[in-house]
Every structure is written in C-alpha cells, then in structure tokens.
C-alpha cells in the first residue's frame, strides 16, 4: 500500500518536500515505514534511530501498525520551548 508521511525541520529539508509517499506492505508497522523512508533518502541513515513517528497525531512505537489513510508524521528530536 501507499502511505503518506509528513516531514519536518531538518528531515523535511533533506527530503526537499513536506510530504512524501512511500510504498509499504499492507501489514506495515512504523519500523517498516522508517525503513522505507531511509531507503528513499539514504542521507537520513545516521539519524534513523533518533526519528520518532506519530500516527494520527499520537506518538507511535516501532510496532504500531499503519493503514493507508492514517496521518503519519516523522518527528525528529524536538526543540520547542
């Protein structure tokens, strides 16, 4: 299936877009989404372990399953405040 992932800050700058489409298997979880993202942008590889993800605006774990219509976002380490 095809999922859409929102990107922010340095990750968005590297990918050059605020939103990317990734092809993942129909039973994909966040670890599969992460792998697909790194596969598309190998420059992100050193940061892979530091990237969190959110599904439908809630922090997800590596095992969180995703569906094609989920709102998925890649959340690099935050620095608000």
């Amino acid at each position: 299936m095809r999922v859409c992932v929102k990107l922010f800050a340095a990750v968005r700058d590297i990918a050059g877009d605020e939103k990317v489409e990734l092809e993942v298997s129909s039973d994909a979880d966040i670890s599969a989404v992460r792998a697909a993202l790194i596969g598309k942008w190998p420059q992100l590889e050193p940061y892979a372990q530091f990237l969190n993800f959110a599904v439908n605006q809630t922090y997800a774990t590596a095992a969180t399953r995703v569906a094609a219509d989920d709102e998925i976002a890649c959340i690099p380490p935050v620095s608000g405040g």
């Binding site: 590297i14 922090y59 405040g81």
Partner: protein, 143 residues
C-alpha cells in the same frame, strides 16, 4: 487554552486567561530568544510545528497538569515563525489558590512541552549559517 501563534505573545493576556477569583497565585514562565548559545552568536530564530499535533499535545499537557496539581487554570502559547533576539518563543501561565501548585505546574508544563511537543527551532547564526536544532542527533555534518 493552548494555542500557537505567529504574533508577538502578550504576557498580560496569558495572565488574564488564568486569573480567577479563587486564584491567589499566578506564575508565568516565558522562554526568550538569547543572544548567545554555548558561545555562538544567534541572530534570530525560526520555529515550526506539526501544528495540529502540537496543539493536541499542549492541550493534553494542560489536562494532565490540572489532574496532577490543585491548580485553577493554566494556559500555554507557543510562537511560530521568525523571532528576533529577546522575543518570547513560549509563555506558560498557571493559577492556584496557594502558590506551591502554580510554581510546580508551570515548571512541569515547560519541562514537558520541551520534551514532547512537536515543535522545532532553527538557529540563524550571526555568521549567516542556519541549523535546525535536533537534540541528540549526531553533529558535524548533521542535517
């Protein structure tokens, strides 16, 4: 009463949001753009957020604070976009009958939003370079 804004944050309006006849104590915290960060000169900052989630997260933190301490009200506003030195990037306010709770809740709110809210800042250094701040990311030729 969480919000995100591209405008200058007005401290008095945050105070007014949490003031109530049962509150004897009102604590505010303002996070302000500093000129020097670890010896480097900051020219300005830009903040961006995953806005919908950031707003939901700030609202959730306000709820948790109200459950954890006997506070009357609390409010958080985070600035987005371009900030000059000395401008507030975030203001937290909490009111309570007695002062202890307002201090603890305000401190917890700023500590926790800095860890959990999907908001990022970009340092615009005085040498013309810019850098997204991502604590913990490998440095050097970091993105």
């Amino acid at each position: 009463m969480a919000s995100l804004t591209h405008e200058t944050i007005d401290l008095q309006s945050l105070y007014d949001m949490v003031a109530t006849p049962t509150a004897g104590a009102i604590v505010t915290f303002s996070g302000v753009t500093r000129e020097l960060t670890q010896g480097r000169q900051t020219e300005s900052l830009d903040y961006e957020a995953y806005a919908e989630m950031a707003l939901a997260k700030l609202t959730e933190l306000e709820q948790i604070a109200k459950e954890r301490w006997p506070i009357e009200k609390c409010a958080v506003v985070h600035r987005l976009g371009h900030l000059e030195i000395g401008e507030a990037s975030v203001v937290v306010a909490a009111s309570s009958a007695h002062r202890e709770a307002a201090f603890l809740a305000a401190k917890w709110l700023i500590d926790t939003l800095k860890e959990e809210a999907p908001i990022w800042k970009r340092e615009n250094w005085s040498d013309g370079s810019t850098e997204w701040v991502h604590p913990g990311l490998p440095t050097g030729d970091a993105p």
